[in-house]
Structure formats: C-alpha cells, structure tokens
C-alpha cells in the first residue's frame, strides 16, 4: 500500500471508527434492556449476573467500543481526522460513486420490490440484462439507464402491491416484462459487434428458467412467487402435460 492509499484508508478508518462507536454505544444501551441483575423471565429467576442473557453481549459490545476507540486513535494519529473532510482523503471518485450507487439501486429494487411480487424469471431476466448492459463497458449513462428501468419496475411493484396479500397480482409482472423488453431493445441497438451484449438476451432467458425449474422440480423446493405469470404456466404444464408422460 503506498502513502496516498494509506492516507485514504486512515481517513476512511476515521469515519468507520465513528460509525462503529455509535453502533456499539447504541447496542450497549439496548443490552441494558435485558435483565442483568435480579430479572425473572417465565418463572426462571436470573438473579445472578452469570445467569443473565446480557452478560456475553455486554462483553462483546464493550470490547467493540474499546477497539473502535483504538481504531479512532490510530486513524487520528495517522492524519485521518485532518483528511476526513477532503474528497481526496476519503478517496471520493465520482465514477465509482455512480457505479456503486446504481448497483445499490438495482440490487435494492430487485430484492425488496421485484423478487417478492414479480415473476422470478422475468425479474431475474431484467436483472441479468440490466447488470450486463450497464456495467460491461463501464459507461455511466448505461448504468443510469439500467438502474432507472429496474427501479421503475421495482417502484411500480412496491407502490401498486405493497402488502403481502396483493403479491399474487399479475400487472407488475407485465410491467417488468415490458421493462425487460425495452432494455433488451436498447441493449441490442447499442450492441453492434459486441458479442457479450448480443449473447446477453439468450443468457437472460435461459439461466433463470433453468435455475427456477431445477429448484422447483428437481429439488422440489419453494421458489419465489409461485403463482406468477410465467412460472404458473410452466408449473401447470410440467404437472399436467409433461409429468404424466413418464409417470404413466
């Protein structure tokens, strides 16, 4: 590690140590909610300190607090506090910030918005297309386009069908499929002679179908959103049209 990298790391350590101190202090305070002396739970007296469920967490968060202060001290001594507010000190890079935040947005809306509510094949296809198109050549504009499409589909699913009782609805499946088709169209227009982008739609269709079918019919496990638009059809034809072929 060279001097510049070390200076950046110590500036980040300064912030990291402050966050750790805050987190340790918060959980240390919450630990005192657990009876330490003289508590009685479900008829079991925890009168002695060594009986308490708080004793180990108390040790863990105290040790974390002490080590966080040591880390803070090391960071300050190495000039971390001085550099903490400078962009160079914390290693801020706008390209990297766009890259990270767009990936963060894509992953958040995929997990929180799409997976619980939308057909898994459709949302996985959209994810594969968005990540490949957005990050293959490192163009910031493509990253933003990918993140926008995924977040629009995710937001629609979240807003239109927030409670679990509405997760079986199919309109968000259609919106996601449209988003996926639109992104694929944009990607293929940009692909020209790029082999990775050209092959991406094939991977985006085949990979999720194989994975979901292997999990649902091979391992007989639960898969997200079983009653969704595409998977419900596959499941129906597997049990009604295909399975009887070898069962009989």
């Amino acid at each position: 590690m060279n001097n510049d990298e070390l200076a950046t790391l110590r500036a980040r350590d300064f912030w990291g140590a402050l966050v750790l101190i805050a987190v340790s202090a918060f959980f240390l305070v919450r630990t005192f909610d657990i009876p330490l002396w003289g508590g009685n739970r479900a008829g079991v007296s925890s009168a002695s300190w060594y009986n308490s469920a708080a004793i180990v967490p108390l040790g863990i968060f105290s040790a974390m607090l002490i080590l966080s202060f040591v880390l803070l001290l090391i960071a300050i001594r190495a000039g971390g506090a001085r550099d903490a507010m400078t962009a160079a000190g914390i290693g801020w890079n706008s390209d990297e910030a766009i890259r990270f935040s767009t990936i963060g947005v894509i992953l958040f809306f995929f997990i929180a918005g799409l997976v619980p509510r939308v057909d898994f094949i459709a949302c996985s296809g959209l994810l594969i297309t968005a990540l490949t198109f957005g990050y293959h050549q490192g163009h910031a504009r493509r990253m933003v386009i990918s993140a926008t499409v995924v977040s629009l589909c995710g937001l629609y699913a979240l807003i239109a069908h927030l409670p679990q009782s509405q997760w079986a609805a199919h309109d968000d499946d259609v919106v996601t499929l449209l988003g996926w088709a639109a992104l694929t169209f944009v990607m293929l227009r940009a692909a020209k002679s790029d082999r990775v982008l050209k092959i991406c739609p094939v991977i985006a269709v085949i990979a999720p179908i194989i994975l979901v079918c292997a999990m649902a019919f091979g391992f007989r496990q639960n898969v997200p959103n079983r009653g969704s638009l595409i998977f419900s059809k596959i499941e129906y034809h597997y049990y009604v049209s295909l399975r009887p072929l070898w069962r009989s």
């Binding site: 350590d13 990291g16 863990i60 974390m64 080590l67 992953l107 990775v196 496990q221 997200p224």
Partner: protein, 503 residues
C-alpha cells in the same frame, strides 16, 4: 494396531459404499467441475462456491450427496484457482495468490502445460496428505476431546475468532478482531440459548430465531464480490499453453520431498481454527524459499515455488476439516460454509458427531481428489476457455443463484433482506480493509461461545477461575491472552528487539 485396522476397515466400507453408488459419480463430476469453474473465474472464490452450493444442495438431498457436492466443489475450487494464476497472472482465489509468483513466469517461458500438469498432481497429492491426516488425527483428537467441556469450548471458540482476525487482516489486526466481534454480535440476535430471553429483536418475530447462517454467508461472500466485480475490465491475455499437461514421473519423483513438506505444512496451517488456504499457501511458499537450494529462483519461474503453494493450499482442506469435525470450529472460511450445511441438516460437528459421517467425509475427499486429478489432466483446455468469460457475464447469474438459493433454504423473503443488508455491510467492511472471514466465523461460533461461556459460569456458580483451573482451559486461556498481548505496541517492540538480537 487394532485401532489402525478398524479405521481402515471403516474407511474401506464407506469408500466401497460410495464407489458402488452410481449417483455418487453424478454429484462428484458436477460438483468438481463447478468447483474448478468457480476457482478458475477470477472474482469467484472457493468460499462462494461452497456457499452457493450449500443453498442448492445443503438440505435438499440426502446428507451423503450433499457432502459429495460441497466437498467436491471445495476441492475443485481450491485447485481451479491455479488456472488464472498460471495463465493470466491473476489469482482465481486468494489461496492461489502465491501460485501466480512462479506459475505465470513459467507460462511465459513456454512451460504452461508442464506447470499445469505439476500443479494438478501436487494438488492431488496435497489433498490426499490432508485427507490422511484427517483420518488419523480426527480420531486421536476425538478421543482427547471427550475431556473438553464447556470452559474449553468457549475458549477455543474465542481463540478461533481471535486467530482468524489476527491472521486474515490485511491492514490492522484490530480490524480483524472488530470483524470477529461484529460476527459474534450478530449471533446474539434472537432467543438466547439458555433462558430463551429475546435479544435485539426489535419486536420483529423473524428475528426471534436469530440470523440464519446461509443468508449471512451468501451476503458476506457473494454480494461484495458482485458489487466489486461489476465493472469494465478487459479480460487479460491468456498465456499460450505450450507443452504437454500430463506430468513427467521423474519430475514428480524429484519434487516429492517438496510436495510432502508442503502437504504437511498446509495440513498444519489448515488445522488452526479460522485460518484459510491463502495463509497455508504463503507459509509453505515462505518455508520453501528459505529451505530450498534454489530459493533465489523463487518468484522467477521456479517449479519448487509453484509446488510449495499449490500442494499446501489443497492439503489445507483436510486440515481445515479436523477442527470442524472434532470441535465444531471451522478451520477455514470454506469450512465455515460447510459448517452452515451441517447446521441446516441438524448435524452438530464436535465430540458427539456420528463417526460414520467422518469416515464418509474422508472417503468423499479421496474420491473428490481423484476426480479433480482426472479432470485437471484431461479437461484442462475447457477450463482455459472458461477463463475468457468476462465477469459481467457470470456475476449477474451468481446474483440470481444466491437469491434463489438463499430463499429456498429458509423459504422466506426476510432471508433475502438479511442477505442484502449483510452484503452491503460486508462491502463497506471490505472497502475499509476489514477481513470478512472472522465475521462469518464469529456468526457461526457465536452461539457456541455464548452457550458454553455461560454454562461454565453457571456450573461454577459464577467463579471465573473455571477458565484457568482446568489444565486444557488454562493453556487455551494463556494462548488467548498471548494472542491479544502480542498486538500491544510494547510487546511488538520487545519482539522486534528480540528478532534483531537473534539476527
């Protein structure tokens, strides 16, 4: 003698049962192939291979097949890391970092085929050395571990977390310790194991059962890799593979002492709780450089240097399984993922483990190493083609794999939120150079540490001398204290003076 014969008979029975079952080969070939592929693709690791397969095979097929799949992937992935190290000068896994030092210069000199052939053979012999050590020492330690009670278990768990934090830290050692403490803290969530007192549940019923191991593993190992890998990167120029891959028997005979020594070192390092294959590779490389007659050639294309790291990292697998099976303390990060698979199958590794499982693990390891050897020698060119796949193609598929794997193990959306949360935290910790392995080991050992520490105090009526008065506990306590004290500036200065005086 009777003991050895009974062990051999037990192993023979387990081996024959596996060999005669056709399904064994299906799982073995698929898992070793997937393992080598994961190892060969820079950006995917052995830990990730075992973690993802835990999501798929962990509790969905009989335990025997699940162990075949996971151990096959583990062995394959550690070996697979050597491909990009030799042909691209990029370690496929951290375990193969030392391999690149000599592998790539050899490939550039037109000896890539020879390097791959020898690496395959060394990895095979290394895995066998580790497996033999596993077969022998696991029983000796199991006999000894009958005397290990709660105080020793608590101190051993703490030692594993501290040692992992100390040795896996790239920057400051306290970062490793803090990572271990974060893992321990995560393990405190849910109902406590003795009094069923809810801790840090914030009124959310999902939290009552605590953090599930598989989503935590997936989040800690997969999400940061995906975030880090999704960037524009030119696929490196693969060095042309010249020469035959099948190794020369005379060369192997010549290097057999190096292979044996490295195998023993790798097994020993693997047996240390929480220390992984990368440390084994570097330790063996360092020892090799200092004892070899051609030490000055290390780093410039030395076959001995190549064999030192590659034998040790594969031998480490058997070593890492010793503390896992005997004490329930994973010897390496992939072994921690393997422990997750045991946990979701309701098997508690440790002194009470069913001896049949140990014999099956040994038999699977032998079969997996044979499969790896054959695949390495005869299908190497397929894996070389795989090296040319860009990360942006396979990482999105990994994300889909982790999502469906994590969902199906717990069967809930909450596990996915947990996976994502842990993933982002792990990414930031990675950015700040906090090692992730101690965090995961902390999560896995947290429950054991909490339960055994409090049980010790409960039995002794709150007398903390229970951790010092028993002989084994006393030694372990001293080891823990020495490990902590060794990081104090005053001790570091003292060690430095001592080293200078000796030099």
């Amino acid at each position: 003698m009777d003991f050895v014969l009974s062990q051999l008979a037990g192993f023979g029975g387990a081996f024959a049962a596996l060999v005669l079952d056709p399904l064994t080969y299906v799982y073995l070939i698929i898992s070793v192939f997937l393992g080598i592929t994961f190892g060969a693709l820079p950006g995917l690791t052995a830990t990730l291979a075992v973690t993802i397969l835990t999501g798929f095979f962990g509790n969905k097929i009989p335990l025997d097949y699940s162990l075949i799949a996971l151990l096959g992937a583990y062995v394959g992935a550690i070996y697979g890391g050597s491909y990009p190290s030799i042909l691209l000068n990029i370690p496929g896994t951290a375990a193969s970092a030392a391999t690149a030092m000599d592998g790539f210069p050899l490939a550039k000199a037109g000896r890539g085929g020879e390097a791959l052939g020898l690496t395959t053979t060394a990895s095979f012999i290394g895995t066998l050395i580790g497996t033999i050590a596993l077969l022998v020492f696991v029983w000796v330690l199991l006999l000894l571990s009958q005397n290990i009670a709660s105080p020793e278990k608590a101190l051993l768990a703490l030692f594993g977390i501290l040692l992992s934090g100390t040795l896996m830290s790239e920057d400051l050692v306290i970062k490793g310790w803090i990572a271990g403490l974060i893992g321990l803290a995560m393990a405190m969530v849910g109902l406590d194991p003795l009094l069923s007192e809810p801790r840090y549940t914030f009124g959310w019923s999902y939290m009552l059962s605590g953090f599930q191991v598989v989503p935590v593993l997936m989040g800690a190992f997969a999400i940061p890799q995906i975030i880090e890998g999704m960037r524009h990167m030119k696929v490196g120029q693969v060095a042309a593979l010249k020469g035959r891959i099948l190794p020369n028997a005379r060369t192997i005979r010549k290097h057999l002492p190096t292979i044996t020594r490295s195998g023993v070192i790798g097994t020993g390092v693997g047996a240390l709780p929480g220390v992984g294959e990368d440390v084994a590779g570097w330790v063996s490389y360092g020892v090799g450089k200092s004892v070899s007659k051609e030490g000055e050639k290390f780093g410039k294309g030395s076959l001995e240097g190549l064999l030192c790291s590659e034998t040790a990292n594969n031998a480490c697998i058997g070593g890492a399984l010793i503390p896992l099976l005997v004490l329930g303390i994973p010897g390496s990060p992939p072994a921690a993922a393997l422990m997750g698979a045991f946990k979701i199958n309701n098997i508690i590794p440790g002194p009470t483990i069913d001896p049949e499982i140990i014999l099956r693990v040994v038999a699977i390891m032998v079969l997996a190493s044979f499969t790896m050897f054959i695949m390495g020698l005869f299908t190497a060119r397929i894996f070389i083609k795989i090296l040319q796949i860009p990360q942006v193609v396979f990482l999105p598929i990994v994300m889909v794999l982790t999502t469906i794997g994590s969902f199906s193990v717990g069967g809930g959306i909450n596990d996915l939120y947990l996976m994502l949360g842990v993933g982002f935290v792990a990414y930031f910790l990675n950015m700040l150079k906090f090692p992730i392995a101690p965090l995961v080991i902390g999560v896995i050992l947290g429950g054991l540490f909490d339960e055994t520490l409090r049980r010790s105090l409960l039995i002794s009526g709150g007398d903390i001398m229970v951790f010092a008065s028993r002989p084994v506990a006393g030694v372990l306590l001293l080891l823990n204290l020495a490990l902590i004290a060794s990081q104090f500036p005053i001790m570091k200065r003292w060690f430095g003076r001592l080293r200078r005086r000796n030099a």
